[in-house]
């Protein structure tokens, strides 16, 4: 989920659904995906995720770049698992034994993680963060966490801009990120300054809220009722997930 509007121009058919339906659908999908037992089932889940992604009309390039963050984490796993898992070797490269179980484990993890991430992206990427927060609130997320999320949505872009302005101001005075003590000290000052400014901003926001009579209770808006489209989508999703589970257990 991005807090920027970069990927929100697409006309996803999921936009017609209630945000709560999309959240619950994403949860259901991820639950079913991680409960796949066979490689075939996991592969089928990935195909399903890809189909959902196609349906959502997201920019594939941008989604791919976003996925790279996830793949980065998995590289280490991919290299280590086949080398360290016990059991018979599939083949050897010089002194290294590549374990058969390790290979299938690694493959299984790649399929599962990608299927889960892609289906979540397909369902939630285009969801406006504010609507996501409201949906979470009406699904019973504690009010305190919802407020934290609201403040994060409201102020992260300001904080980012403040950081960028500071970096630009540094560059305007000839700063270049070279590898020397001065560089690290400057980055330290930058982070420190951002922290100080955030605290000051938080204090001013708090004062502004008190000036408008805030006394601890946060008003939240009531949510809209679900529609027939939500019911239809839920039915389709349920059928597909049931088929997927059956296929997995038979494979």
């Amino acid at each position: 989920m991005s807090l920027s509007a970069a990927n929100m121009s697409t006309a996803s058919p999921f936009e017609k659904l209630d945000p709560r339906t999309r959240l619950l659908a994403a949860c259901a999908l991820v639950l079913v995906i991680v409960s796949m037992r066979s490689l075939e089932g996991q592969a089928a889940a990935l195909l399903l995720a890809l189909a959902a992604l196609r349906l959502s009309g997201l920019d594939l390039g941008l989604t791919g770049r976003r996925l790279m963050h996830v793949e980065g984490f998995m590289v280490a796993l991919l290299i280590l698992l086949p080398l360290t898992a016990p059991g018979p070797a599939a083949f050897t490269i010089g002194p290294l034994e590549i374990s058969q179980r390790g290979l299938s484990r690694a493959l299984s993890i790649i399929l599962t993680v990608n299927a889960a991430v892609l289906s979540t992206l397909a369902l939630l990427e285009t969801l406006e963060p504010v609507r996501l927060a409201r949906a979470l609130a009406s699904l019973g997320l504690p009010a305190r966490l919802v407020h934290l999320l609201f403040f994060l949505i409201r102020y992260q872009s300001l904080l980012r801009e403040e950081g960028l302005r500071l970096i630009e101001a540094m560059r305007a005075r000839g700063f270049a990120g070279r590898l020397r003590v001065h560089t690290w000290r400057s980055y330290g000052n930058l982070v420190g300054m951002l922290l100080v400014r955030s605290v000051e901003r938080a204090e001013r926001v708090d004062e502004a809220m008190r000036c408008r009579g805030f006394s601890g209770r946060f008003p939240l808006r009531a949510s809209q009722p679900m529609t027939r489209a939500d019911a239809a989508f839920a039915l389709v999703l349920f059928t597909v997930l049931a088929l997927l589970l059956t296929f997995d257990r038979l494979a």
């Binding site: 406006e128 504010v130 927060a133 609201f150 926001v205 008190r210 000036c211 408008r212 009579g213 006394s215």
Partner: protein
């Protein structure tokens, strides 16, 4: 200083404020009556913002009396009522706009005053309509332009129907179009005001009297309204000057 009629909304008497051992207000006395529009001018750091913060109790007076709406105010509880009746428009609109959407932000004050959701939203809509901004209601606050943000902030404080407006550099960083709009709205309002600003033309248009903050002290200042003969340096864009 002329205005003597009308009830005193706000009275400071020999107020001192010290912050971290440094004096920021030095023996300040001031009276704001119904109908007053008081301009506060002065250099940066002279204590103008501190003056507004002291009136609303965000800054505690070290000594002296803050009297507002007929009562002496000391505790945070005392100041709660003051903050609703003397609404403070902050210098930085981003500090004030914290709700996701414009409508929710404008409804925030009325909800805190005890209105139910329906009534608060109606009040918010009516206030936005009064400012000619009803079309902004569903917009996400952080995506507004600077000028829109300032006007939505104003809607947020007007929705509480205050008697007094405390305006801290209201025209700061606004473009000419939004300055004009803000000025039109402010001069049409039948409310007492304290206006902190560097913008002399704005103060000349809006204020009924003026004080100057200098070295943390308040001294009388004169507003003058007479035709000027100026020498101007103009920037013209897109016009052909042969």
């Amino acid at each position: 200083m002329s205005a003597t009629e009308g009830a005193a909304f706000i009275e400071l008497e020999n107020v001192y404020v010290e912050r971290a051992g440094v004096r920021v207000l030095d023996n300040v006395s001031l009276t704001l009556r119904a109908g007053d529009r008081l301009a506060v001018v002065g250099a940066n750091g002279a204590g103008k913002t501190t003056l507004l913060r002291t009136i609303t109790g965000l800054q505690k007076a070290t000594s002296g009396t803050v009297r507002a709406f007929g009562r002496v105010r000391r505790t945070q509880e005392d100041f709660r009522e003051v903050r609703i009746r003397a609404a403070y428009l902050f210098q930085d609109a981003d500090d004030q706009l914290f709700c996701p959407t414009v409508l929710e932000d404008v409804a925030f004050g009325p909800l805190n005053m005890g209105l139910n959701e329906q009534a608060a939203l109606e009040k918010a809509n009516a206030t936005l309509a009064f400012l000619g901004m009803e079309h902004l209601g569903e917009r996400i606050t952080r995506r507004l332009s600077g000028g829109e943000k300032r006007l939505v902030c104003l809607a947020g404080v007007l929705a509480m129907e205050p008697d007094v407006l405390l305006l801290d550099e209201p025209t700061n960083s606004l473009d000419a179009k939004h300055v004009e709009k803000l000025m039109t709205v402010l001069s049409s309002l039948d409310k007492s005001m304290i206006i902190v600003s560097h913008d002399r033309p704005i103060l000349d248009r809006l204020a009924t009297r003026a004080v100057r903050m200098k070295d943390c002290r308040l001294e009388p200042a004169v507003l003058h309204r007479h035709p000027h003969v100026h020498e101007h340096l103009h920037v013209h864009v897109g016009e052909d000057h042969a």
